[in-house]
């Protein structure tokens, strides 16, 4: 019976997330469009509202091209690795008190593990395509993920120290006593490092080097088309959402808000995620792209030292205050 209930929950979550992914693409196009004084999608449905569905149908029925010299099993597995890893991390996210699929003790570590796994998908896709641009994209992705994973992990150590837990629900609850009910101010350095690493982890502008369009055509997914390409796309957006959720849980106080919402407790959580997503899109509309070596410089020479300083300061404060 519990298994059945679990299944229903999983399916509901899956459907909801997929809907979010679809409309995240729509809002991204729409917002960037308006920021660039154009309209964005307008044709399918009222103001293009059905565009994501049309896109989904289109990519589903598109011819599936596998390059002749590609490593077929890896080529086919790569997008699925990406998607599965990203989807799995959804399981431990607490949308509200008790609204979580798997309330495990090491939730934060689990998410890290999964997002590192997802980068395997990207690297394998770059390698298996047997194309030079894809290969470079895969290499860039590998280097980028390795460096920024460290910065991101370290940036969250402060949060772990303050809350004394790795369980996401407990982290949220621990924030209740803090200023504004969130760790944003006490952990401002950590948040700064986390925010930048988050952009890099999700391959978003200004760190979209693995798929840098003007340099590597489309990076690791140059050779992908149709549904496989769409899966990469979905994985990217789920990744954005997962990262936004971690940010919300660890720094913005999770589902806590100025007042409790009676029938729909995850409302604040969702609003915070949407805010993150909007900032993602907003940054994409504004900033140019870093160069590969500058990205590494930023990661190793600025973010990791900053994160370490943050840990030391947090630990000292914690030891002194209590």
């Amino acid at each position: 019976m519990t298994i059945l209930l679990m299944l229903v929950q999983i399916i509901v979550l899956f459907v909801l997330v997929m809907l979010h992914v679809a409309y995240a693409t729509y809002f991204e196009r729409k917002i960037i469009g308006h920021m660039q004084v154009r309209l964005g999608p307008m044709q399918v449905g009222w103001h293009g509202l059905l565009q994501p569905i049309a896109d989904g149908i289109k990519s589903f029925f598109k011819e599936d091209i596998i390059p002749e010299q590609a490593d077929r099993p890896t080529f086919m597995a790569a997008p699925i690795i990406c998607l599965v890893a990203m989807m799995t991390s959804l399981a431990v996210l607490p949308f509200a008190k008790g609204w979580v699929l798997a309330d495990i003790n090491i939730g934060l570590l689990f998410i890290f593990a999964m997002s590192s796994l997802a980068s395997y998908g990207v690297v394998l896709a770059g390698w298996a395509s047997n194309s030079k641009f894809s290969f470079l994209g895969g290499l860039r992705s590998m280097a980028q993920v390795i460096s920024y994973e460290i910065a991101m992990g370290l940036s969250l150590v402060g949060v772990m120290l303050m809350s004394g837990s790795l369980n996401l629900t407990q982290i949220v609850e621990a924030q209740g006593n803090s200023i504004l009910g969130m760790y944003l101010l006490p952990q401002c350095i950590g948040f700064f490092v986390f925010f930048i690493s988050m952009l890099a982890e999700t391959n978003r502008v200004p760190f979209d080097l693995p798929e840098a369009e003007t340099e590597l055509v489309s990076g690791y997914c140059t050779e992908y088309s149709g549904m496989r390409y769409a899966i990469f796309f979905m994985a990217e957006y789920i990744g954005m959402m997962v990262m936004a959720a971690i940010g919300t849980v660890c720094f913005l106080g999770g589902w806590n808000g100025p007042f409790a919402v009676p029938f729909f407790p995850p409302l604040w959580f969702l609003l915070k995620i949407y805010l993150f997503m909007f900032i993602f899109i907003w940054i994409r509309a504004t900033l140019p792209r870093y160069r590969y070596d500058q990205l590494m410089d930023l990661g190793w020479k600025l973010l990791i030292p900053l994160a370490l300083v943050n840990i030391v300061v947090t630990a000292c404060l914690k030891a002194m205050i209590g």
């Binding site: 960037i32 920021m35 660039q36 004084v37 154009r38 002749e68 010299q69 047997n130 194309s131 030079k132 641009f133 290969f135 470079l136 502008v205 200004p206 979209d208 840098a212 369009e213 003007t214 340099e215 055509v217 509309a285 504004t286 900033l287 140019p288 792209r289 870093y290 160069r291 590969y292 070596d293 500058q294």
Partner: protein, 408 residues
Amino acid sequence: MTPPLKQTLEIPVADGEAERYSLRMGPQHPATHGVLRVDLELDGETIIECKPQVGYLHRGFEKLAENRTYSQALILTDRLDYIAAMANNVGYCLAVEKLLAISVPLRAQYIRTLVCEMSRLCSHLLWLATHALDIGAMTVFLYCFREREILLDLFEELCGARLTFSYPRIGGVRQDVTSYFIDELQRFLDIFPSRIAEYETLIDTNRIWLKRTVGVGVVSGDQALALGLTGACLRGSGVDYDLRKHQPYDAYDQVEFEVPLGSDGDIYARYRCRMEEMHQSVHIIQQCIDQLPPGPIIGLDAPDLVMPNKVPARIEAGSSTYGTGLIRLIRDRDLYLSGDIYVATEVPKGELGFYFISDGNNRPYRMHIRSPSFIHIGALATIAKGEMLADLIANIGSLDVVLGESDR
């Protein structure tokens, strides 16, 4: 020529020596501004060797021009640098006028200066748009197009075309400007400086933009001269060479403007030069509007559009489409002068030169086009060597090449 069907990727193997990874960028690539192909030898992402390949757009303009009359060959120049076609047209007409000793009335000179500078704005806007897009700032792209659209609409109002104008005429211009055109242009000039400020807000002091451009693609002044760079690429390196000042043509000696000079010779210096040039262009256009004199728009000795080699008696007695000049020329029994001439103008990309040899025919015996883009692409190999793959893209954008002009 076509690559073999079966081709596998050689994954470089570490063997102590530099690992080489050859990459063929283009001719279909989002950042090569047309059909430029660059064969690269990479070590990681550092470029060891860079070989640009052009010619995918070669249409044989020099050969074609030898088989067309001077007025017919004018339309070929539209298709050289299709972003600033007006500047090419004017450069061509100036060369033919000097070759055949044809005078241009003052009003036409002012109008030409005006449209040349409008063309420069068009070209620089497109350069900024694509250059910023190459470096990843995609919003600048659309903001630039917003203003460029206004200019193209104005060109449409003036001469009925948005890209391939064929507006200047040997000995003048084709159509007079209207008060509507001048008013619209004035309105554009009033808003445009604030729009430039808008682009600068997005990129000018942005740390990522600075990181990508400062100290990248450095060319010293002497090196730039040896490589034959012209235009903003040369001035960014601190060499004061602007044909509008050095050999003033049309009304450029009647208007005041300054030539922005950089000193560092990097991508940022070239970028700043072109941004300043946009301000100067606005200044020049404003002066042209203010000083626009009345008078004819085409000279009396301008040749007929048909440019007959042998003039039938019928036309000699009657009137031609334009002017009475042809009749005078026939009386002189010297329809077209023979000789050779090299006339260069400062087009947005650099120095566009036309070397003409006339044999006394209505067709050029030889027309050579010195196209700045061709020489700039040739210089790319030297500039990009030793830098990173991403810098190559920035360099291509910064040299401001148009493949239509390079390949001719």
